[in-house]
């Protein structure tokens, strides 16, 4: 029953994108509304799915569709949703919709500029991207998962390459080559699993818990699949594509990249690598944990060194994903639950952070923190407070969504699975804890540089020219008491504070961050049964 729901979730954006291709002229005047309505319908379907989901049976896939597609490959069109994928499907639909809200109701500035440059192509790209993202979370067939995993590459490439910043060419090429290399290696791992077991069905493979595969094969397959997923996640040292891609991508690209695309990598660990290859996971987990904590510390230290706001948030993703991977590496229900929670929380928080960074860049025409000056709380109080909120959520303040996932991941490392060496994981826990402190440090440093302090006139090109030609420095310091000198935008007006369309796009994220922070059980009760089944604890 209700098998049409996952199909509809994919069909709505796909058909919408195809219509855009077939009837460009009829739709051109209504492009804003068109994208908004389609993603809205998709979100409505996702909400419907959340509403009718049977929470008592969260461990089993629901709304299943299972049709043969390519018999010669054993590829079946097998979709379904369980407690692990449901939050991610909803998150994807939500973030895509919010991106459209941000784009389509913005009568001025960023949204407008983006929509002015080839609006049809932008709507098309985002819709295809949505198909790939939702499909990845719905797929219950190894090759189908791989196909959807690949679907996102081309749209994301164009999103960066066409609408990106200055260095977009190199960043987009790096993104697509890096991730393709990962996914091809992953394909080899998936085919190895298939060659050994003769089935591509994720459900059946997960139920078998690695039966029929020798330990050596499992390790090989886990490493191959893990490398592919780790590039996407990204895990240190395979993360180097991420900062460039994030820095150059347009706001919506960054939001979707951080909010959803990175989750595809971690989701793969929970859906495929760990349940299907338990012996391989047990053998590789110490290494995975080691790379994860290196990622946590490395991400935090790299953040401390950044001047660019977007780049800093990008590196913070490396750290947060380190916590997620550490949670997976413990192979305990607590750790995996924490990882899945941190996953969703990171999607919400970093999505919001990138929206805010985009808004800042939009107003000041730079994301360079020293150039921004300080005192945003005084000049743009609402934007400043939202940035503060998102930052402290991201650094893991108890009571906000960022806290629980990382706490559970560290807690999992305190008592890892029996097959894993406990002293090693205790070390990881300590290092991870230090990393959490560093995370707090860089976010606070960022806040002190950007939102606090006295408002200064940011180093504007005009001022710099004046100094270069040897003109006298301004005799009167800017920071005397008085109305803060406003930054002027290109039309000569001071940049406005948060606008309605921005507020519309951001409020749901703020609300969800608060909700999951205050009531983590909401999400944990959903993932727990599925995690227990996947780890084979319940059986």
């Amino acid at each position: 029953m209700m098998g049409w729901l996952p199909v509809a979730l994919l069909a709505v954006p796909l058909v919408g994108a195809l219509l855009l291709l077939l009837a460009p002229h009829a739709l051109r005047p209504r492009l804003r509304a068109y994208g908004l309505v389609l993603s809205g319908v998709t979100l409505a379907l996702a909400v419907l799915m959340v509403a009718v989901f049977d929470y008592a049976g969260a461990a089993r896939p629901q709304f299943e569709v299972d049709q043969p597609w390519i018999a010669g490959l054993g590829l079946r069109f097998h979709l379904g949703v369980d407690g692990i994928s449901l939050p991610l499907v909803a998150l994807t639909a939500l973030l895509t919709f919010l991106c459209f809200v941000y784009l389509c109701w913005g009568r001025e500035r960023a949204g407008e500029q983006l929509m002015r440059a080839r609006p049809r192509a932008l709507v098309f790209t985002l819709l295809v991207l949505e198909v790939g993202m939702i499909g990845t979370f719905l797929a219950l067939d190894l090759l189908l998962f791989f196909v959807f995993f690949e679907v996102v590459l081309i749209p994301m490439y164009f999103l960066i390459a066409i609408w990106g910043g200055e260095g977009r060419g190199a960043a987009s090429a790096k993104f697509i080559l890096y991730t393709l290399l990962g996914s091809v290696v992953m394909l080899l791992g998936l085919l190895l699993v298939w060659a050994q077991t003769g089935t591509l069905d994720i459900e059946a493979l997960a139920a078998a818990h690695g039966a029929g595969m020798a330990r050596s094969v499992q390790i090989l397959a886990f490493v191959a699949i893990g490398v592919g997923l780790a590039v996407k996640t990204p895990m240190w040292p395979l993360h180097t594509w991420l900062p460039d891609a994030h820095t150059e991508a347009p706001t919506v690209g960054s939001v979707l990249l951080a909010g959803v695309l990175l989750k595809m990598g971690t989701y793969g660990f929970a859906r495929i690598a760990i349940p299907i290859l338990p012996d391989g996971a047990a053998a590789v987990a110490p290494w995975l944990g080691a790379l994860a904590v290196v990622g946590i510390v490395y991400g935090a230290l790299a953040c401390l060194a950044q001047r660019d706001l977007k780049r800093m948030i990008a590196y913070s993703s490396v750290g947060h994903m380190g916590f997620v991977l550490l949670g997976f590496a413990t192979l305990t229900p607590v750790g995996v639950n924490g990882a899945l929670f941190a996953n969703v929380a990171h999607g919400l928080i970093t999505g919001l952070l990138f929206f805010l960074a985009g808004a800042v860049k939009d107003r000041y025409h730079t994301a360079d923190m020293p150039s921004l000056g300080g005192g945003m709380l005084a000049t743009l109080p609402r934007l400043g407070s939202l940035l503060t909120f998102a930052s402290i959520a991201s650094l893991g303040l108890p009571g906000l969504a960022g806290f629980w996932g990382e706490m559970l991941a560290l807690f999992g490392a305190f008592q890892p699975a029996n097959v894993l060496p406990r002293p090693l994981f205790l070390t990881y826990m300590v290092i991870g804890g230090l990393g959490a402190v560093l995370t707090a440090a860089y976010f606070l440093v960022m806040l002190s540089r950007v939102t606090h302090g006295r408002p200064q006139r940011p180093a504007r090109p005009a001022a710099r020219v004046l100094q270069e030609v040897g003109g006298p420095p301004p005799a009167v310091p800017d920071d005397v008491a008085g109305p803060p000198p406003a930054v002027l935008d290109d039309v000569g007006r001071p940049p406005g504070d948060v606008r309605t369309h921005e507020l519309l796009a951001w409020t749901p994220l703020v609300v969800l961050i608060l909700l999951f922070g205050l009531w983590p059980g909401l999400l944990l009760s959903l993932t727990t049964p599925a995690v227990l089944t996947l780890l084979g604890v319940a059986s």
């Binding site: 081309i154 164009f158 390459a161 090429a173 080559l177 393709l180 080899l188 085919l191």
Partner: protein, 509 residues
């Protein structure tokens, strides 16, 4: 005795050959007017379509494979009949693919010949002769017929390349192709004669028995099925001869110059029809005749495949000319097609060959689509460099999107699912066959390949530097060629099972 000929079995090449003669006659007797050019094109197209119809009829007929030109049982040494021409599933798949590609090539020719610089009758005659060879070759089941058919594919192409008279590049390309091809033929003939000397027969089925150790070799003493050194030399020489035709490393150097110098339809012909013929011959010799000696040629083919895909991709990275890029990319694709042959294990080698054939069929569709768009662009720009494709999507949306789709297909990424699944077929055989290292080499190559395809695709969508004020000309023939190739590529993307059904079943028999 009287040789019984099954005319239905040989109908496809026969129709093509008759059409070739007809075209030559019509060209001689019809008045030389522009309208004649079009008429000859349509006659050629009709001949190809009728031939394709016969192939489809044979495929639909099913039943036992038709064979003709046989030595009856009892006349020769073995007790079973041995036939030179067999129209089995393998033959029909290759013939169908070649003829479908031929339709596209003829359509492209119509645009190319509309300019008037090229003699029309000769062009279509030579083109049809090539098709006769390409259709006959997969049906050949003896070494002599194989060599003759392969020469029939190759010889007219030299002339076709040179038909763009007064063009220095074209003549140079023709000479290069001629020299390379003649050398490769000589090498292969030498190998063939060695094989004949060992086995005392030219029939592939008999060769299979001899080299598999089921029948005694009259030429040399075959100890425990081990091949004497002379046999190894023969196998290597035959493989080398075919490697020239498919532009495999180390016999790949001619590809770029010849593709660039030749008219675009001939480049398309070389990259699809001629290559398909080469692969058909290679598969026939290796799998149908020499599967008993797999231990000798599998390592050779594996190394050839790895080198070919790597060299092709690395050379393609630096190209600025569209045709040269496609030339090197098709060398790289040859490597992917070769790869499954390197895991053909004697017991059920058929499925691995099926992966090669499936890749070849899908490759034909996507590559022809790309060449058709290149043909279109070559009519409006003189140099046909990658920069000329900047903003193609805005100038000619359909052609631009078609080229983007074909390039993404060749790269093997969604939405070009056909190319993705083609690669999955090959990867599957490699992983199952235990050739993990070759799979890794191919994985790395897929990434290298993506770079130049992605750069070209991105250029299609980049804003054009200046708007060309030239009036838009339409080329209906090329337009329909693009439509045909892309429609097939889209069909294969949605239902790749069609390709698998055609190729994965028992290939021989």
């Amino acid at each position: 005795m009287i040789q019984q000929i099954d005319y239905f079995a040989i109908a496809p090449p026969l129709v093509l050959a008759l059409t070739a003669g007809l075209v030559l006659l019509l060209d001689a007797f019809l008045p030389a007017r522009p309208r004649t050019r079009g008429a000859l094109g349509f006659v050629t197209l009709a001949g190809v379509l009728v031939s394709l119809g016969f192939v489809v009829a044979q495929a639909a007929g099913g039943g036992t494979p038709r064979s003709t030109f046989c030595v009856p049982p009892g006349l020769a040494d073995p007790a079973t009949a041995q036939c030179s021409f067999v129209a089995d599933r393998f033959t029909l798949v290759f013939a169908g693919m070649v003829l479908a590609a031929a339709v596209v090539v003829v359509l492209l020719s119509m645009t190319e010949l509309a300019g008037g610089g090229i003699p029309v009758g000769e062009w279509y005659f030579l083109l049809l002769c090539t098709f006769v060879g390409a259709v006959t070759l997969p049906a050949s089941r003896d070494l002599i017929m194989l060599v003759v058919a392969l020469e029939l594919v190759s010889l007219p192409v030299f002339a076709l390349t040179a038909l763009k008279r007064y063009d220095g590049r074209s003549s140079e390309a023709a000479v290069k192709l001629f020299v390379v091809s003649v050398v490769s033929t000589a090498v292969m003939l030498y190998g063939v004669s060695l094989l004949y000397g060992i086995a005392g027969t030219v029939f592939l089925s008999r060769l299979e028995e001899v080299f598999g150790g089921q029948a005694e070799a009259p030429g040399v003493a075959l100890v425990q099925g081990d091949l004497p050194a002379v046999g190894t030399v023969g196998v290597v020489l035959v493989v080398a001869g075919f490697a020239f035709k498919i532009a495999a490393v180390p016999f790949h150097a001619w590809a770029a110059d010849v593709y660039q110098g030749a008219p675009v339809p001939v480049a398309a012909l070389l990259s699809v029809v001629s290559k398909a013929a080469g692969f058909a011959g290679l598969i026939l010799v290796l799998v149908a005749a020499l599967s008993g000696q797999a231990a000798t040629w599998i390592p050779i083919v594996a190394v050839l495949a790895a080198l070919t895909m790597t060299a092709g991709n690395l050379l393609a990275l630096r190209q600025r000319s569209a045709v040269r890029l496609l030339a090197w990319s098709s060398v790289a694709q040859s490597g992917y097609i070769l790869a499954p042959l390197a895991v053909t294990v004697t017991a059920d080698g058929v499925t691995a060959v099926g992966a090669s054939m499936a890749y070849l069929v899908i490759y034909a569709a996507m590559n022809l689509g790309a060449f058709a768009v290149v043909m279109l662009v070559s009519k409006t720009t003189t140099r046909n460099e990658l920069d000329d494709y900047r903003g193609l999507v805005f100038r000619r949306p359909v052609a631009g999107l078609a080229l983007a789709f074909c390039l993404i297909c060749l790269a093997g990424l969604p939405p070009g699912l056909a190319g993705l699944f083609a690669k999955v077929f090959v990867f599957r055989e490699l992983v199952e066959g235990g050739s993990g290292w070759l799979a890794l080499v191919m994985a790395a190559n897929t990434v290298i390949g993506l770079y130049y395809y992605a750069v070209w695709t991105a250029r299609l969508f980049a804003p054009a530097a200046e708007r060309d004020a030239a009036p838009r000309r339409t080329f209906p023939a090329t337009g329909s060629a693009i439509g045909l190739a892309v429609a097939v590529a889209v069909l294969f993307s949605v239902a790749p099972q069609l390709v698998l059904d055609a190729t994965a079943l028992s290939a021989f028999g």
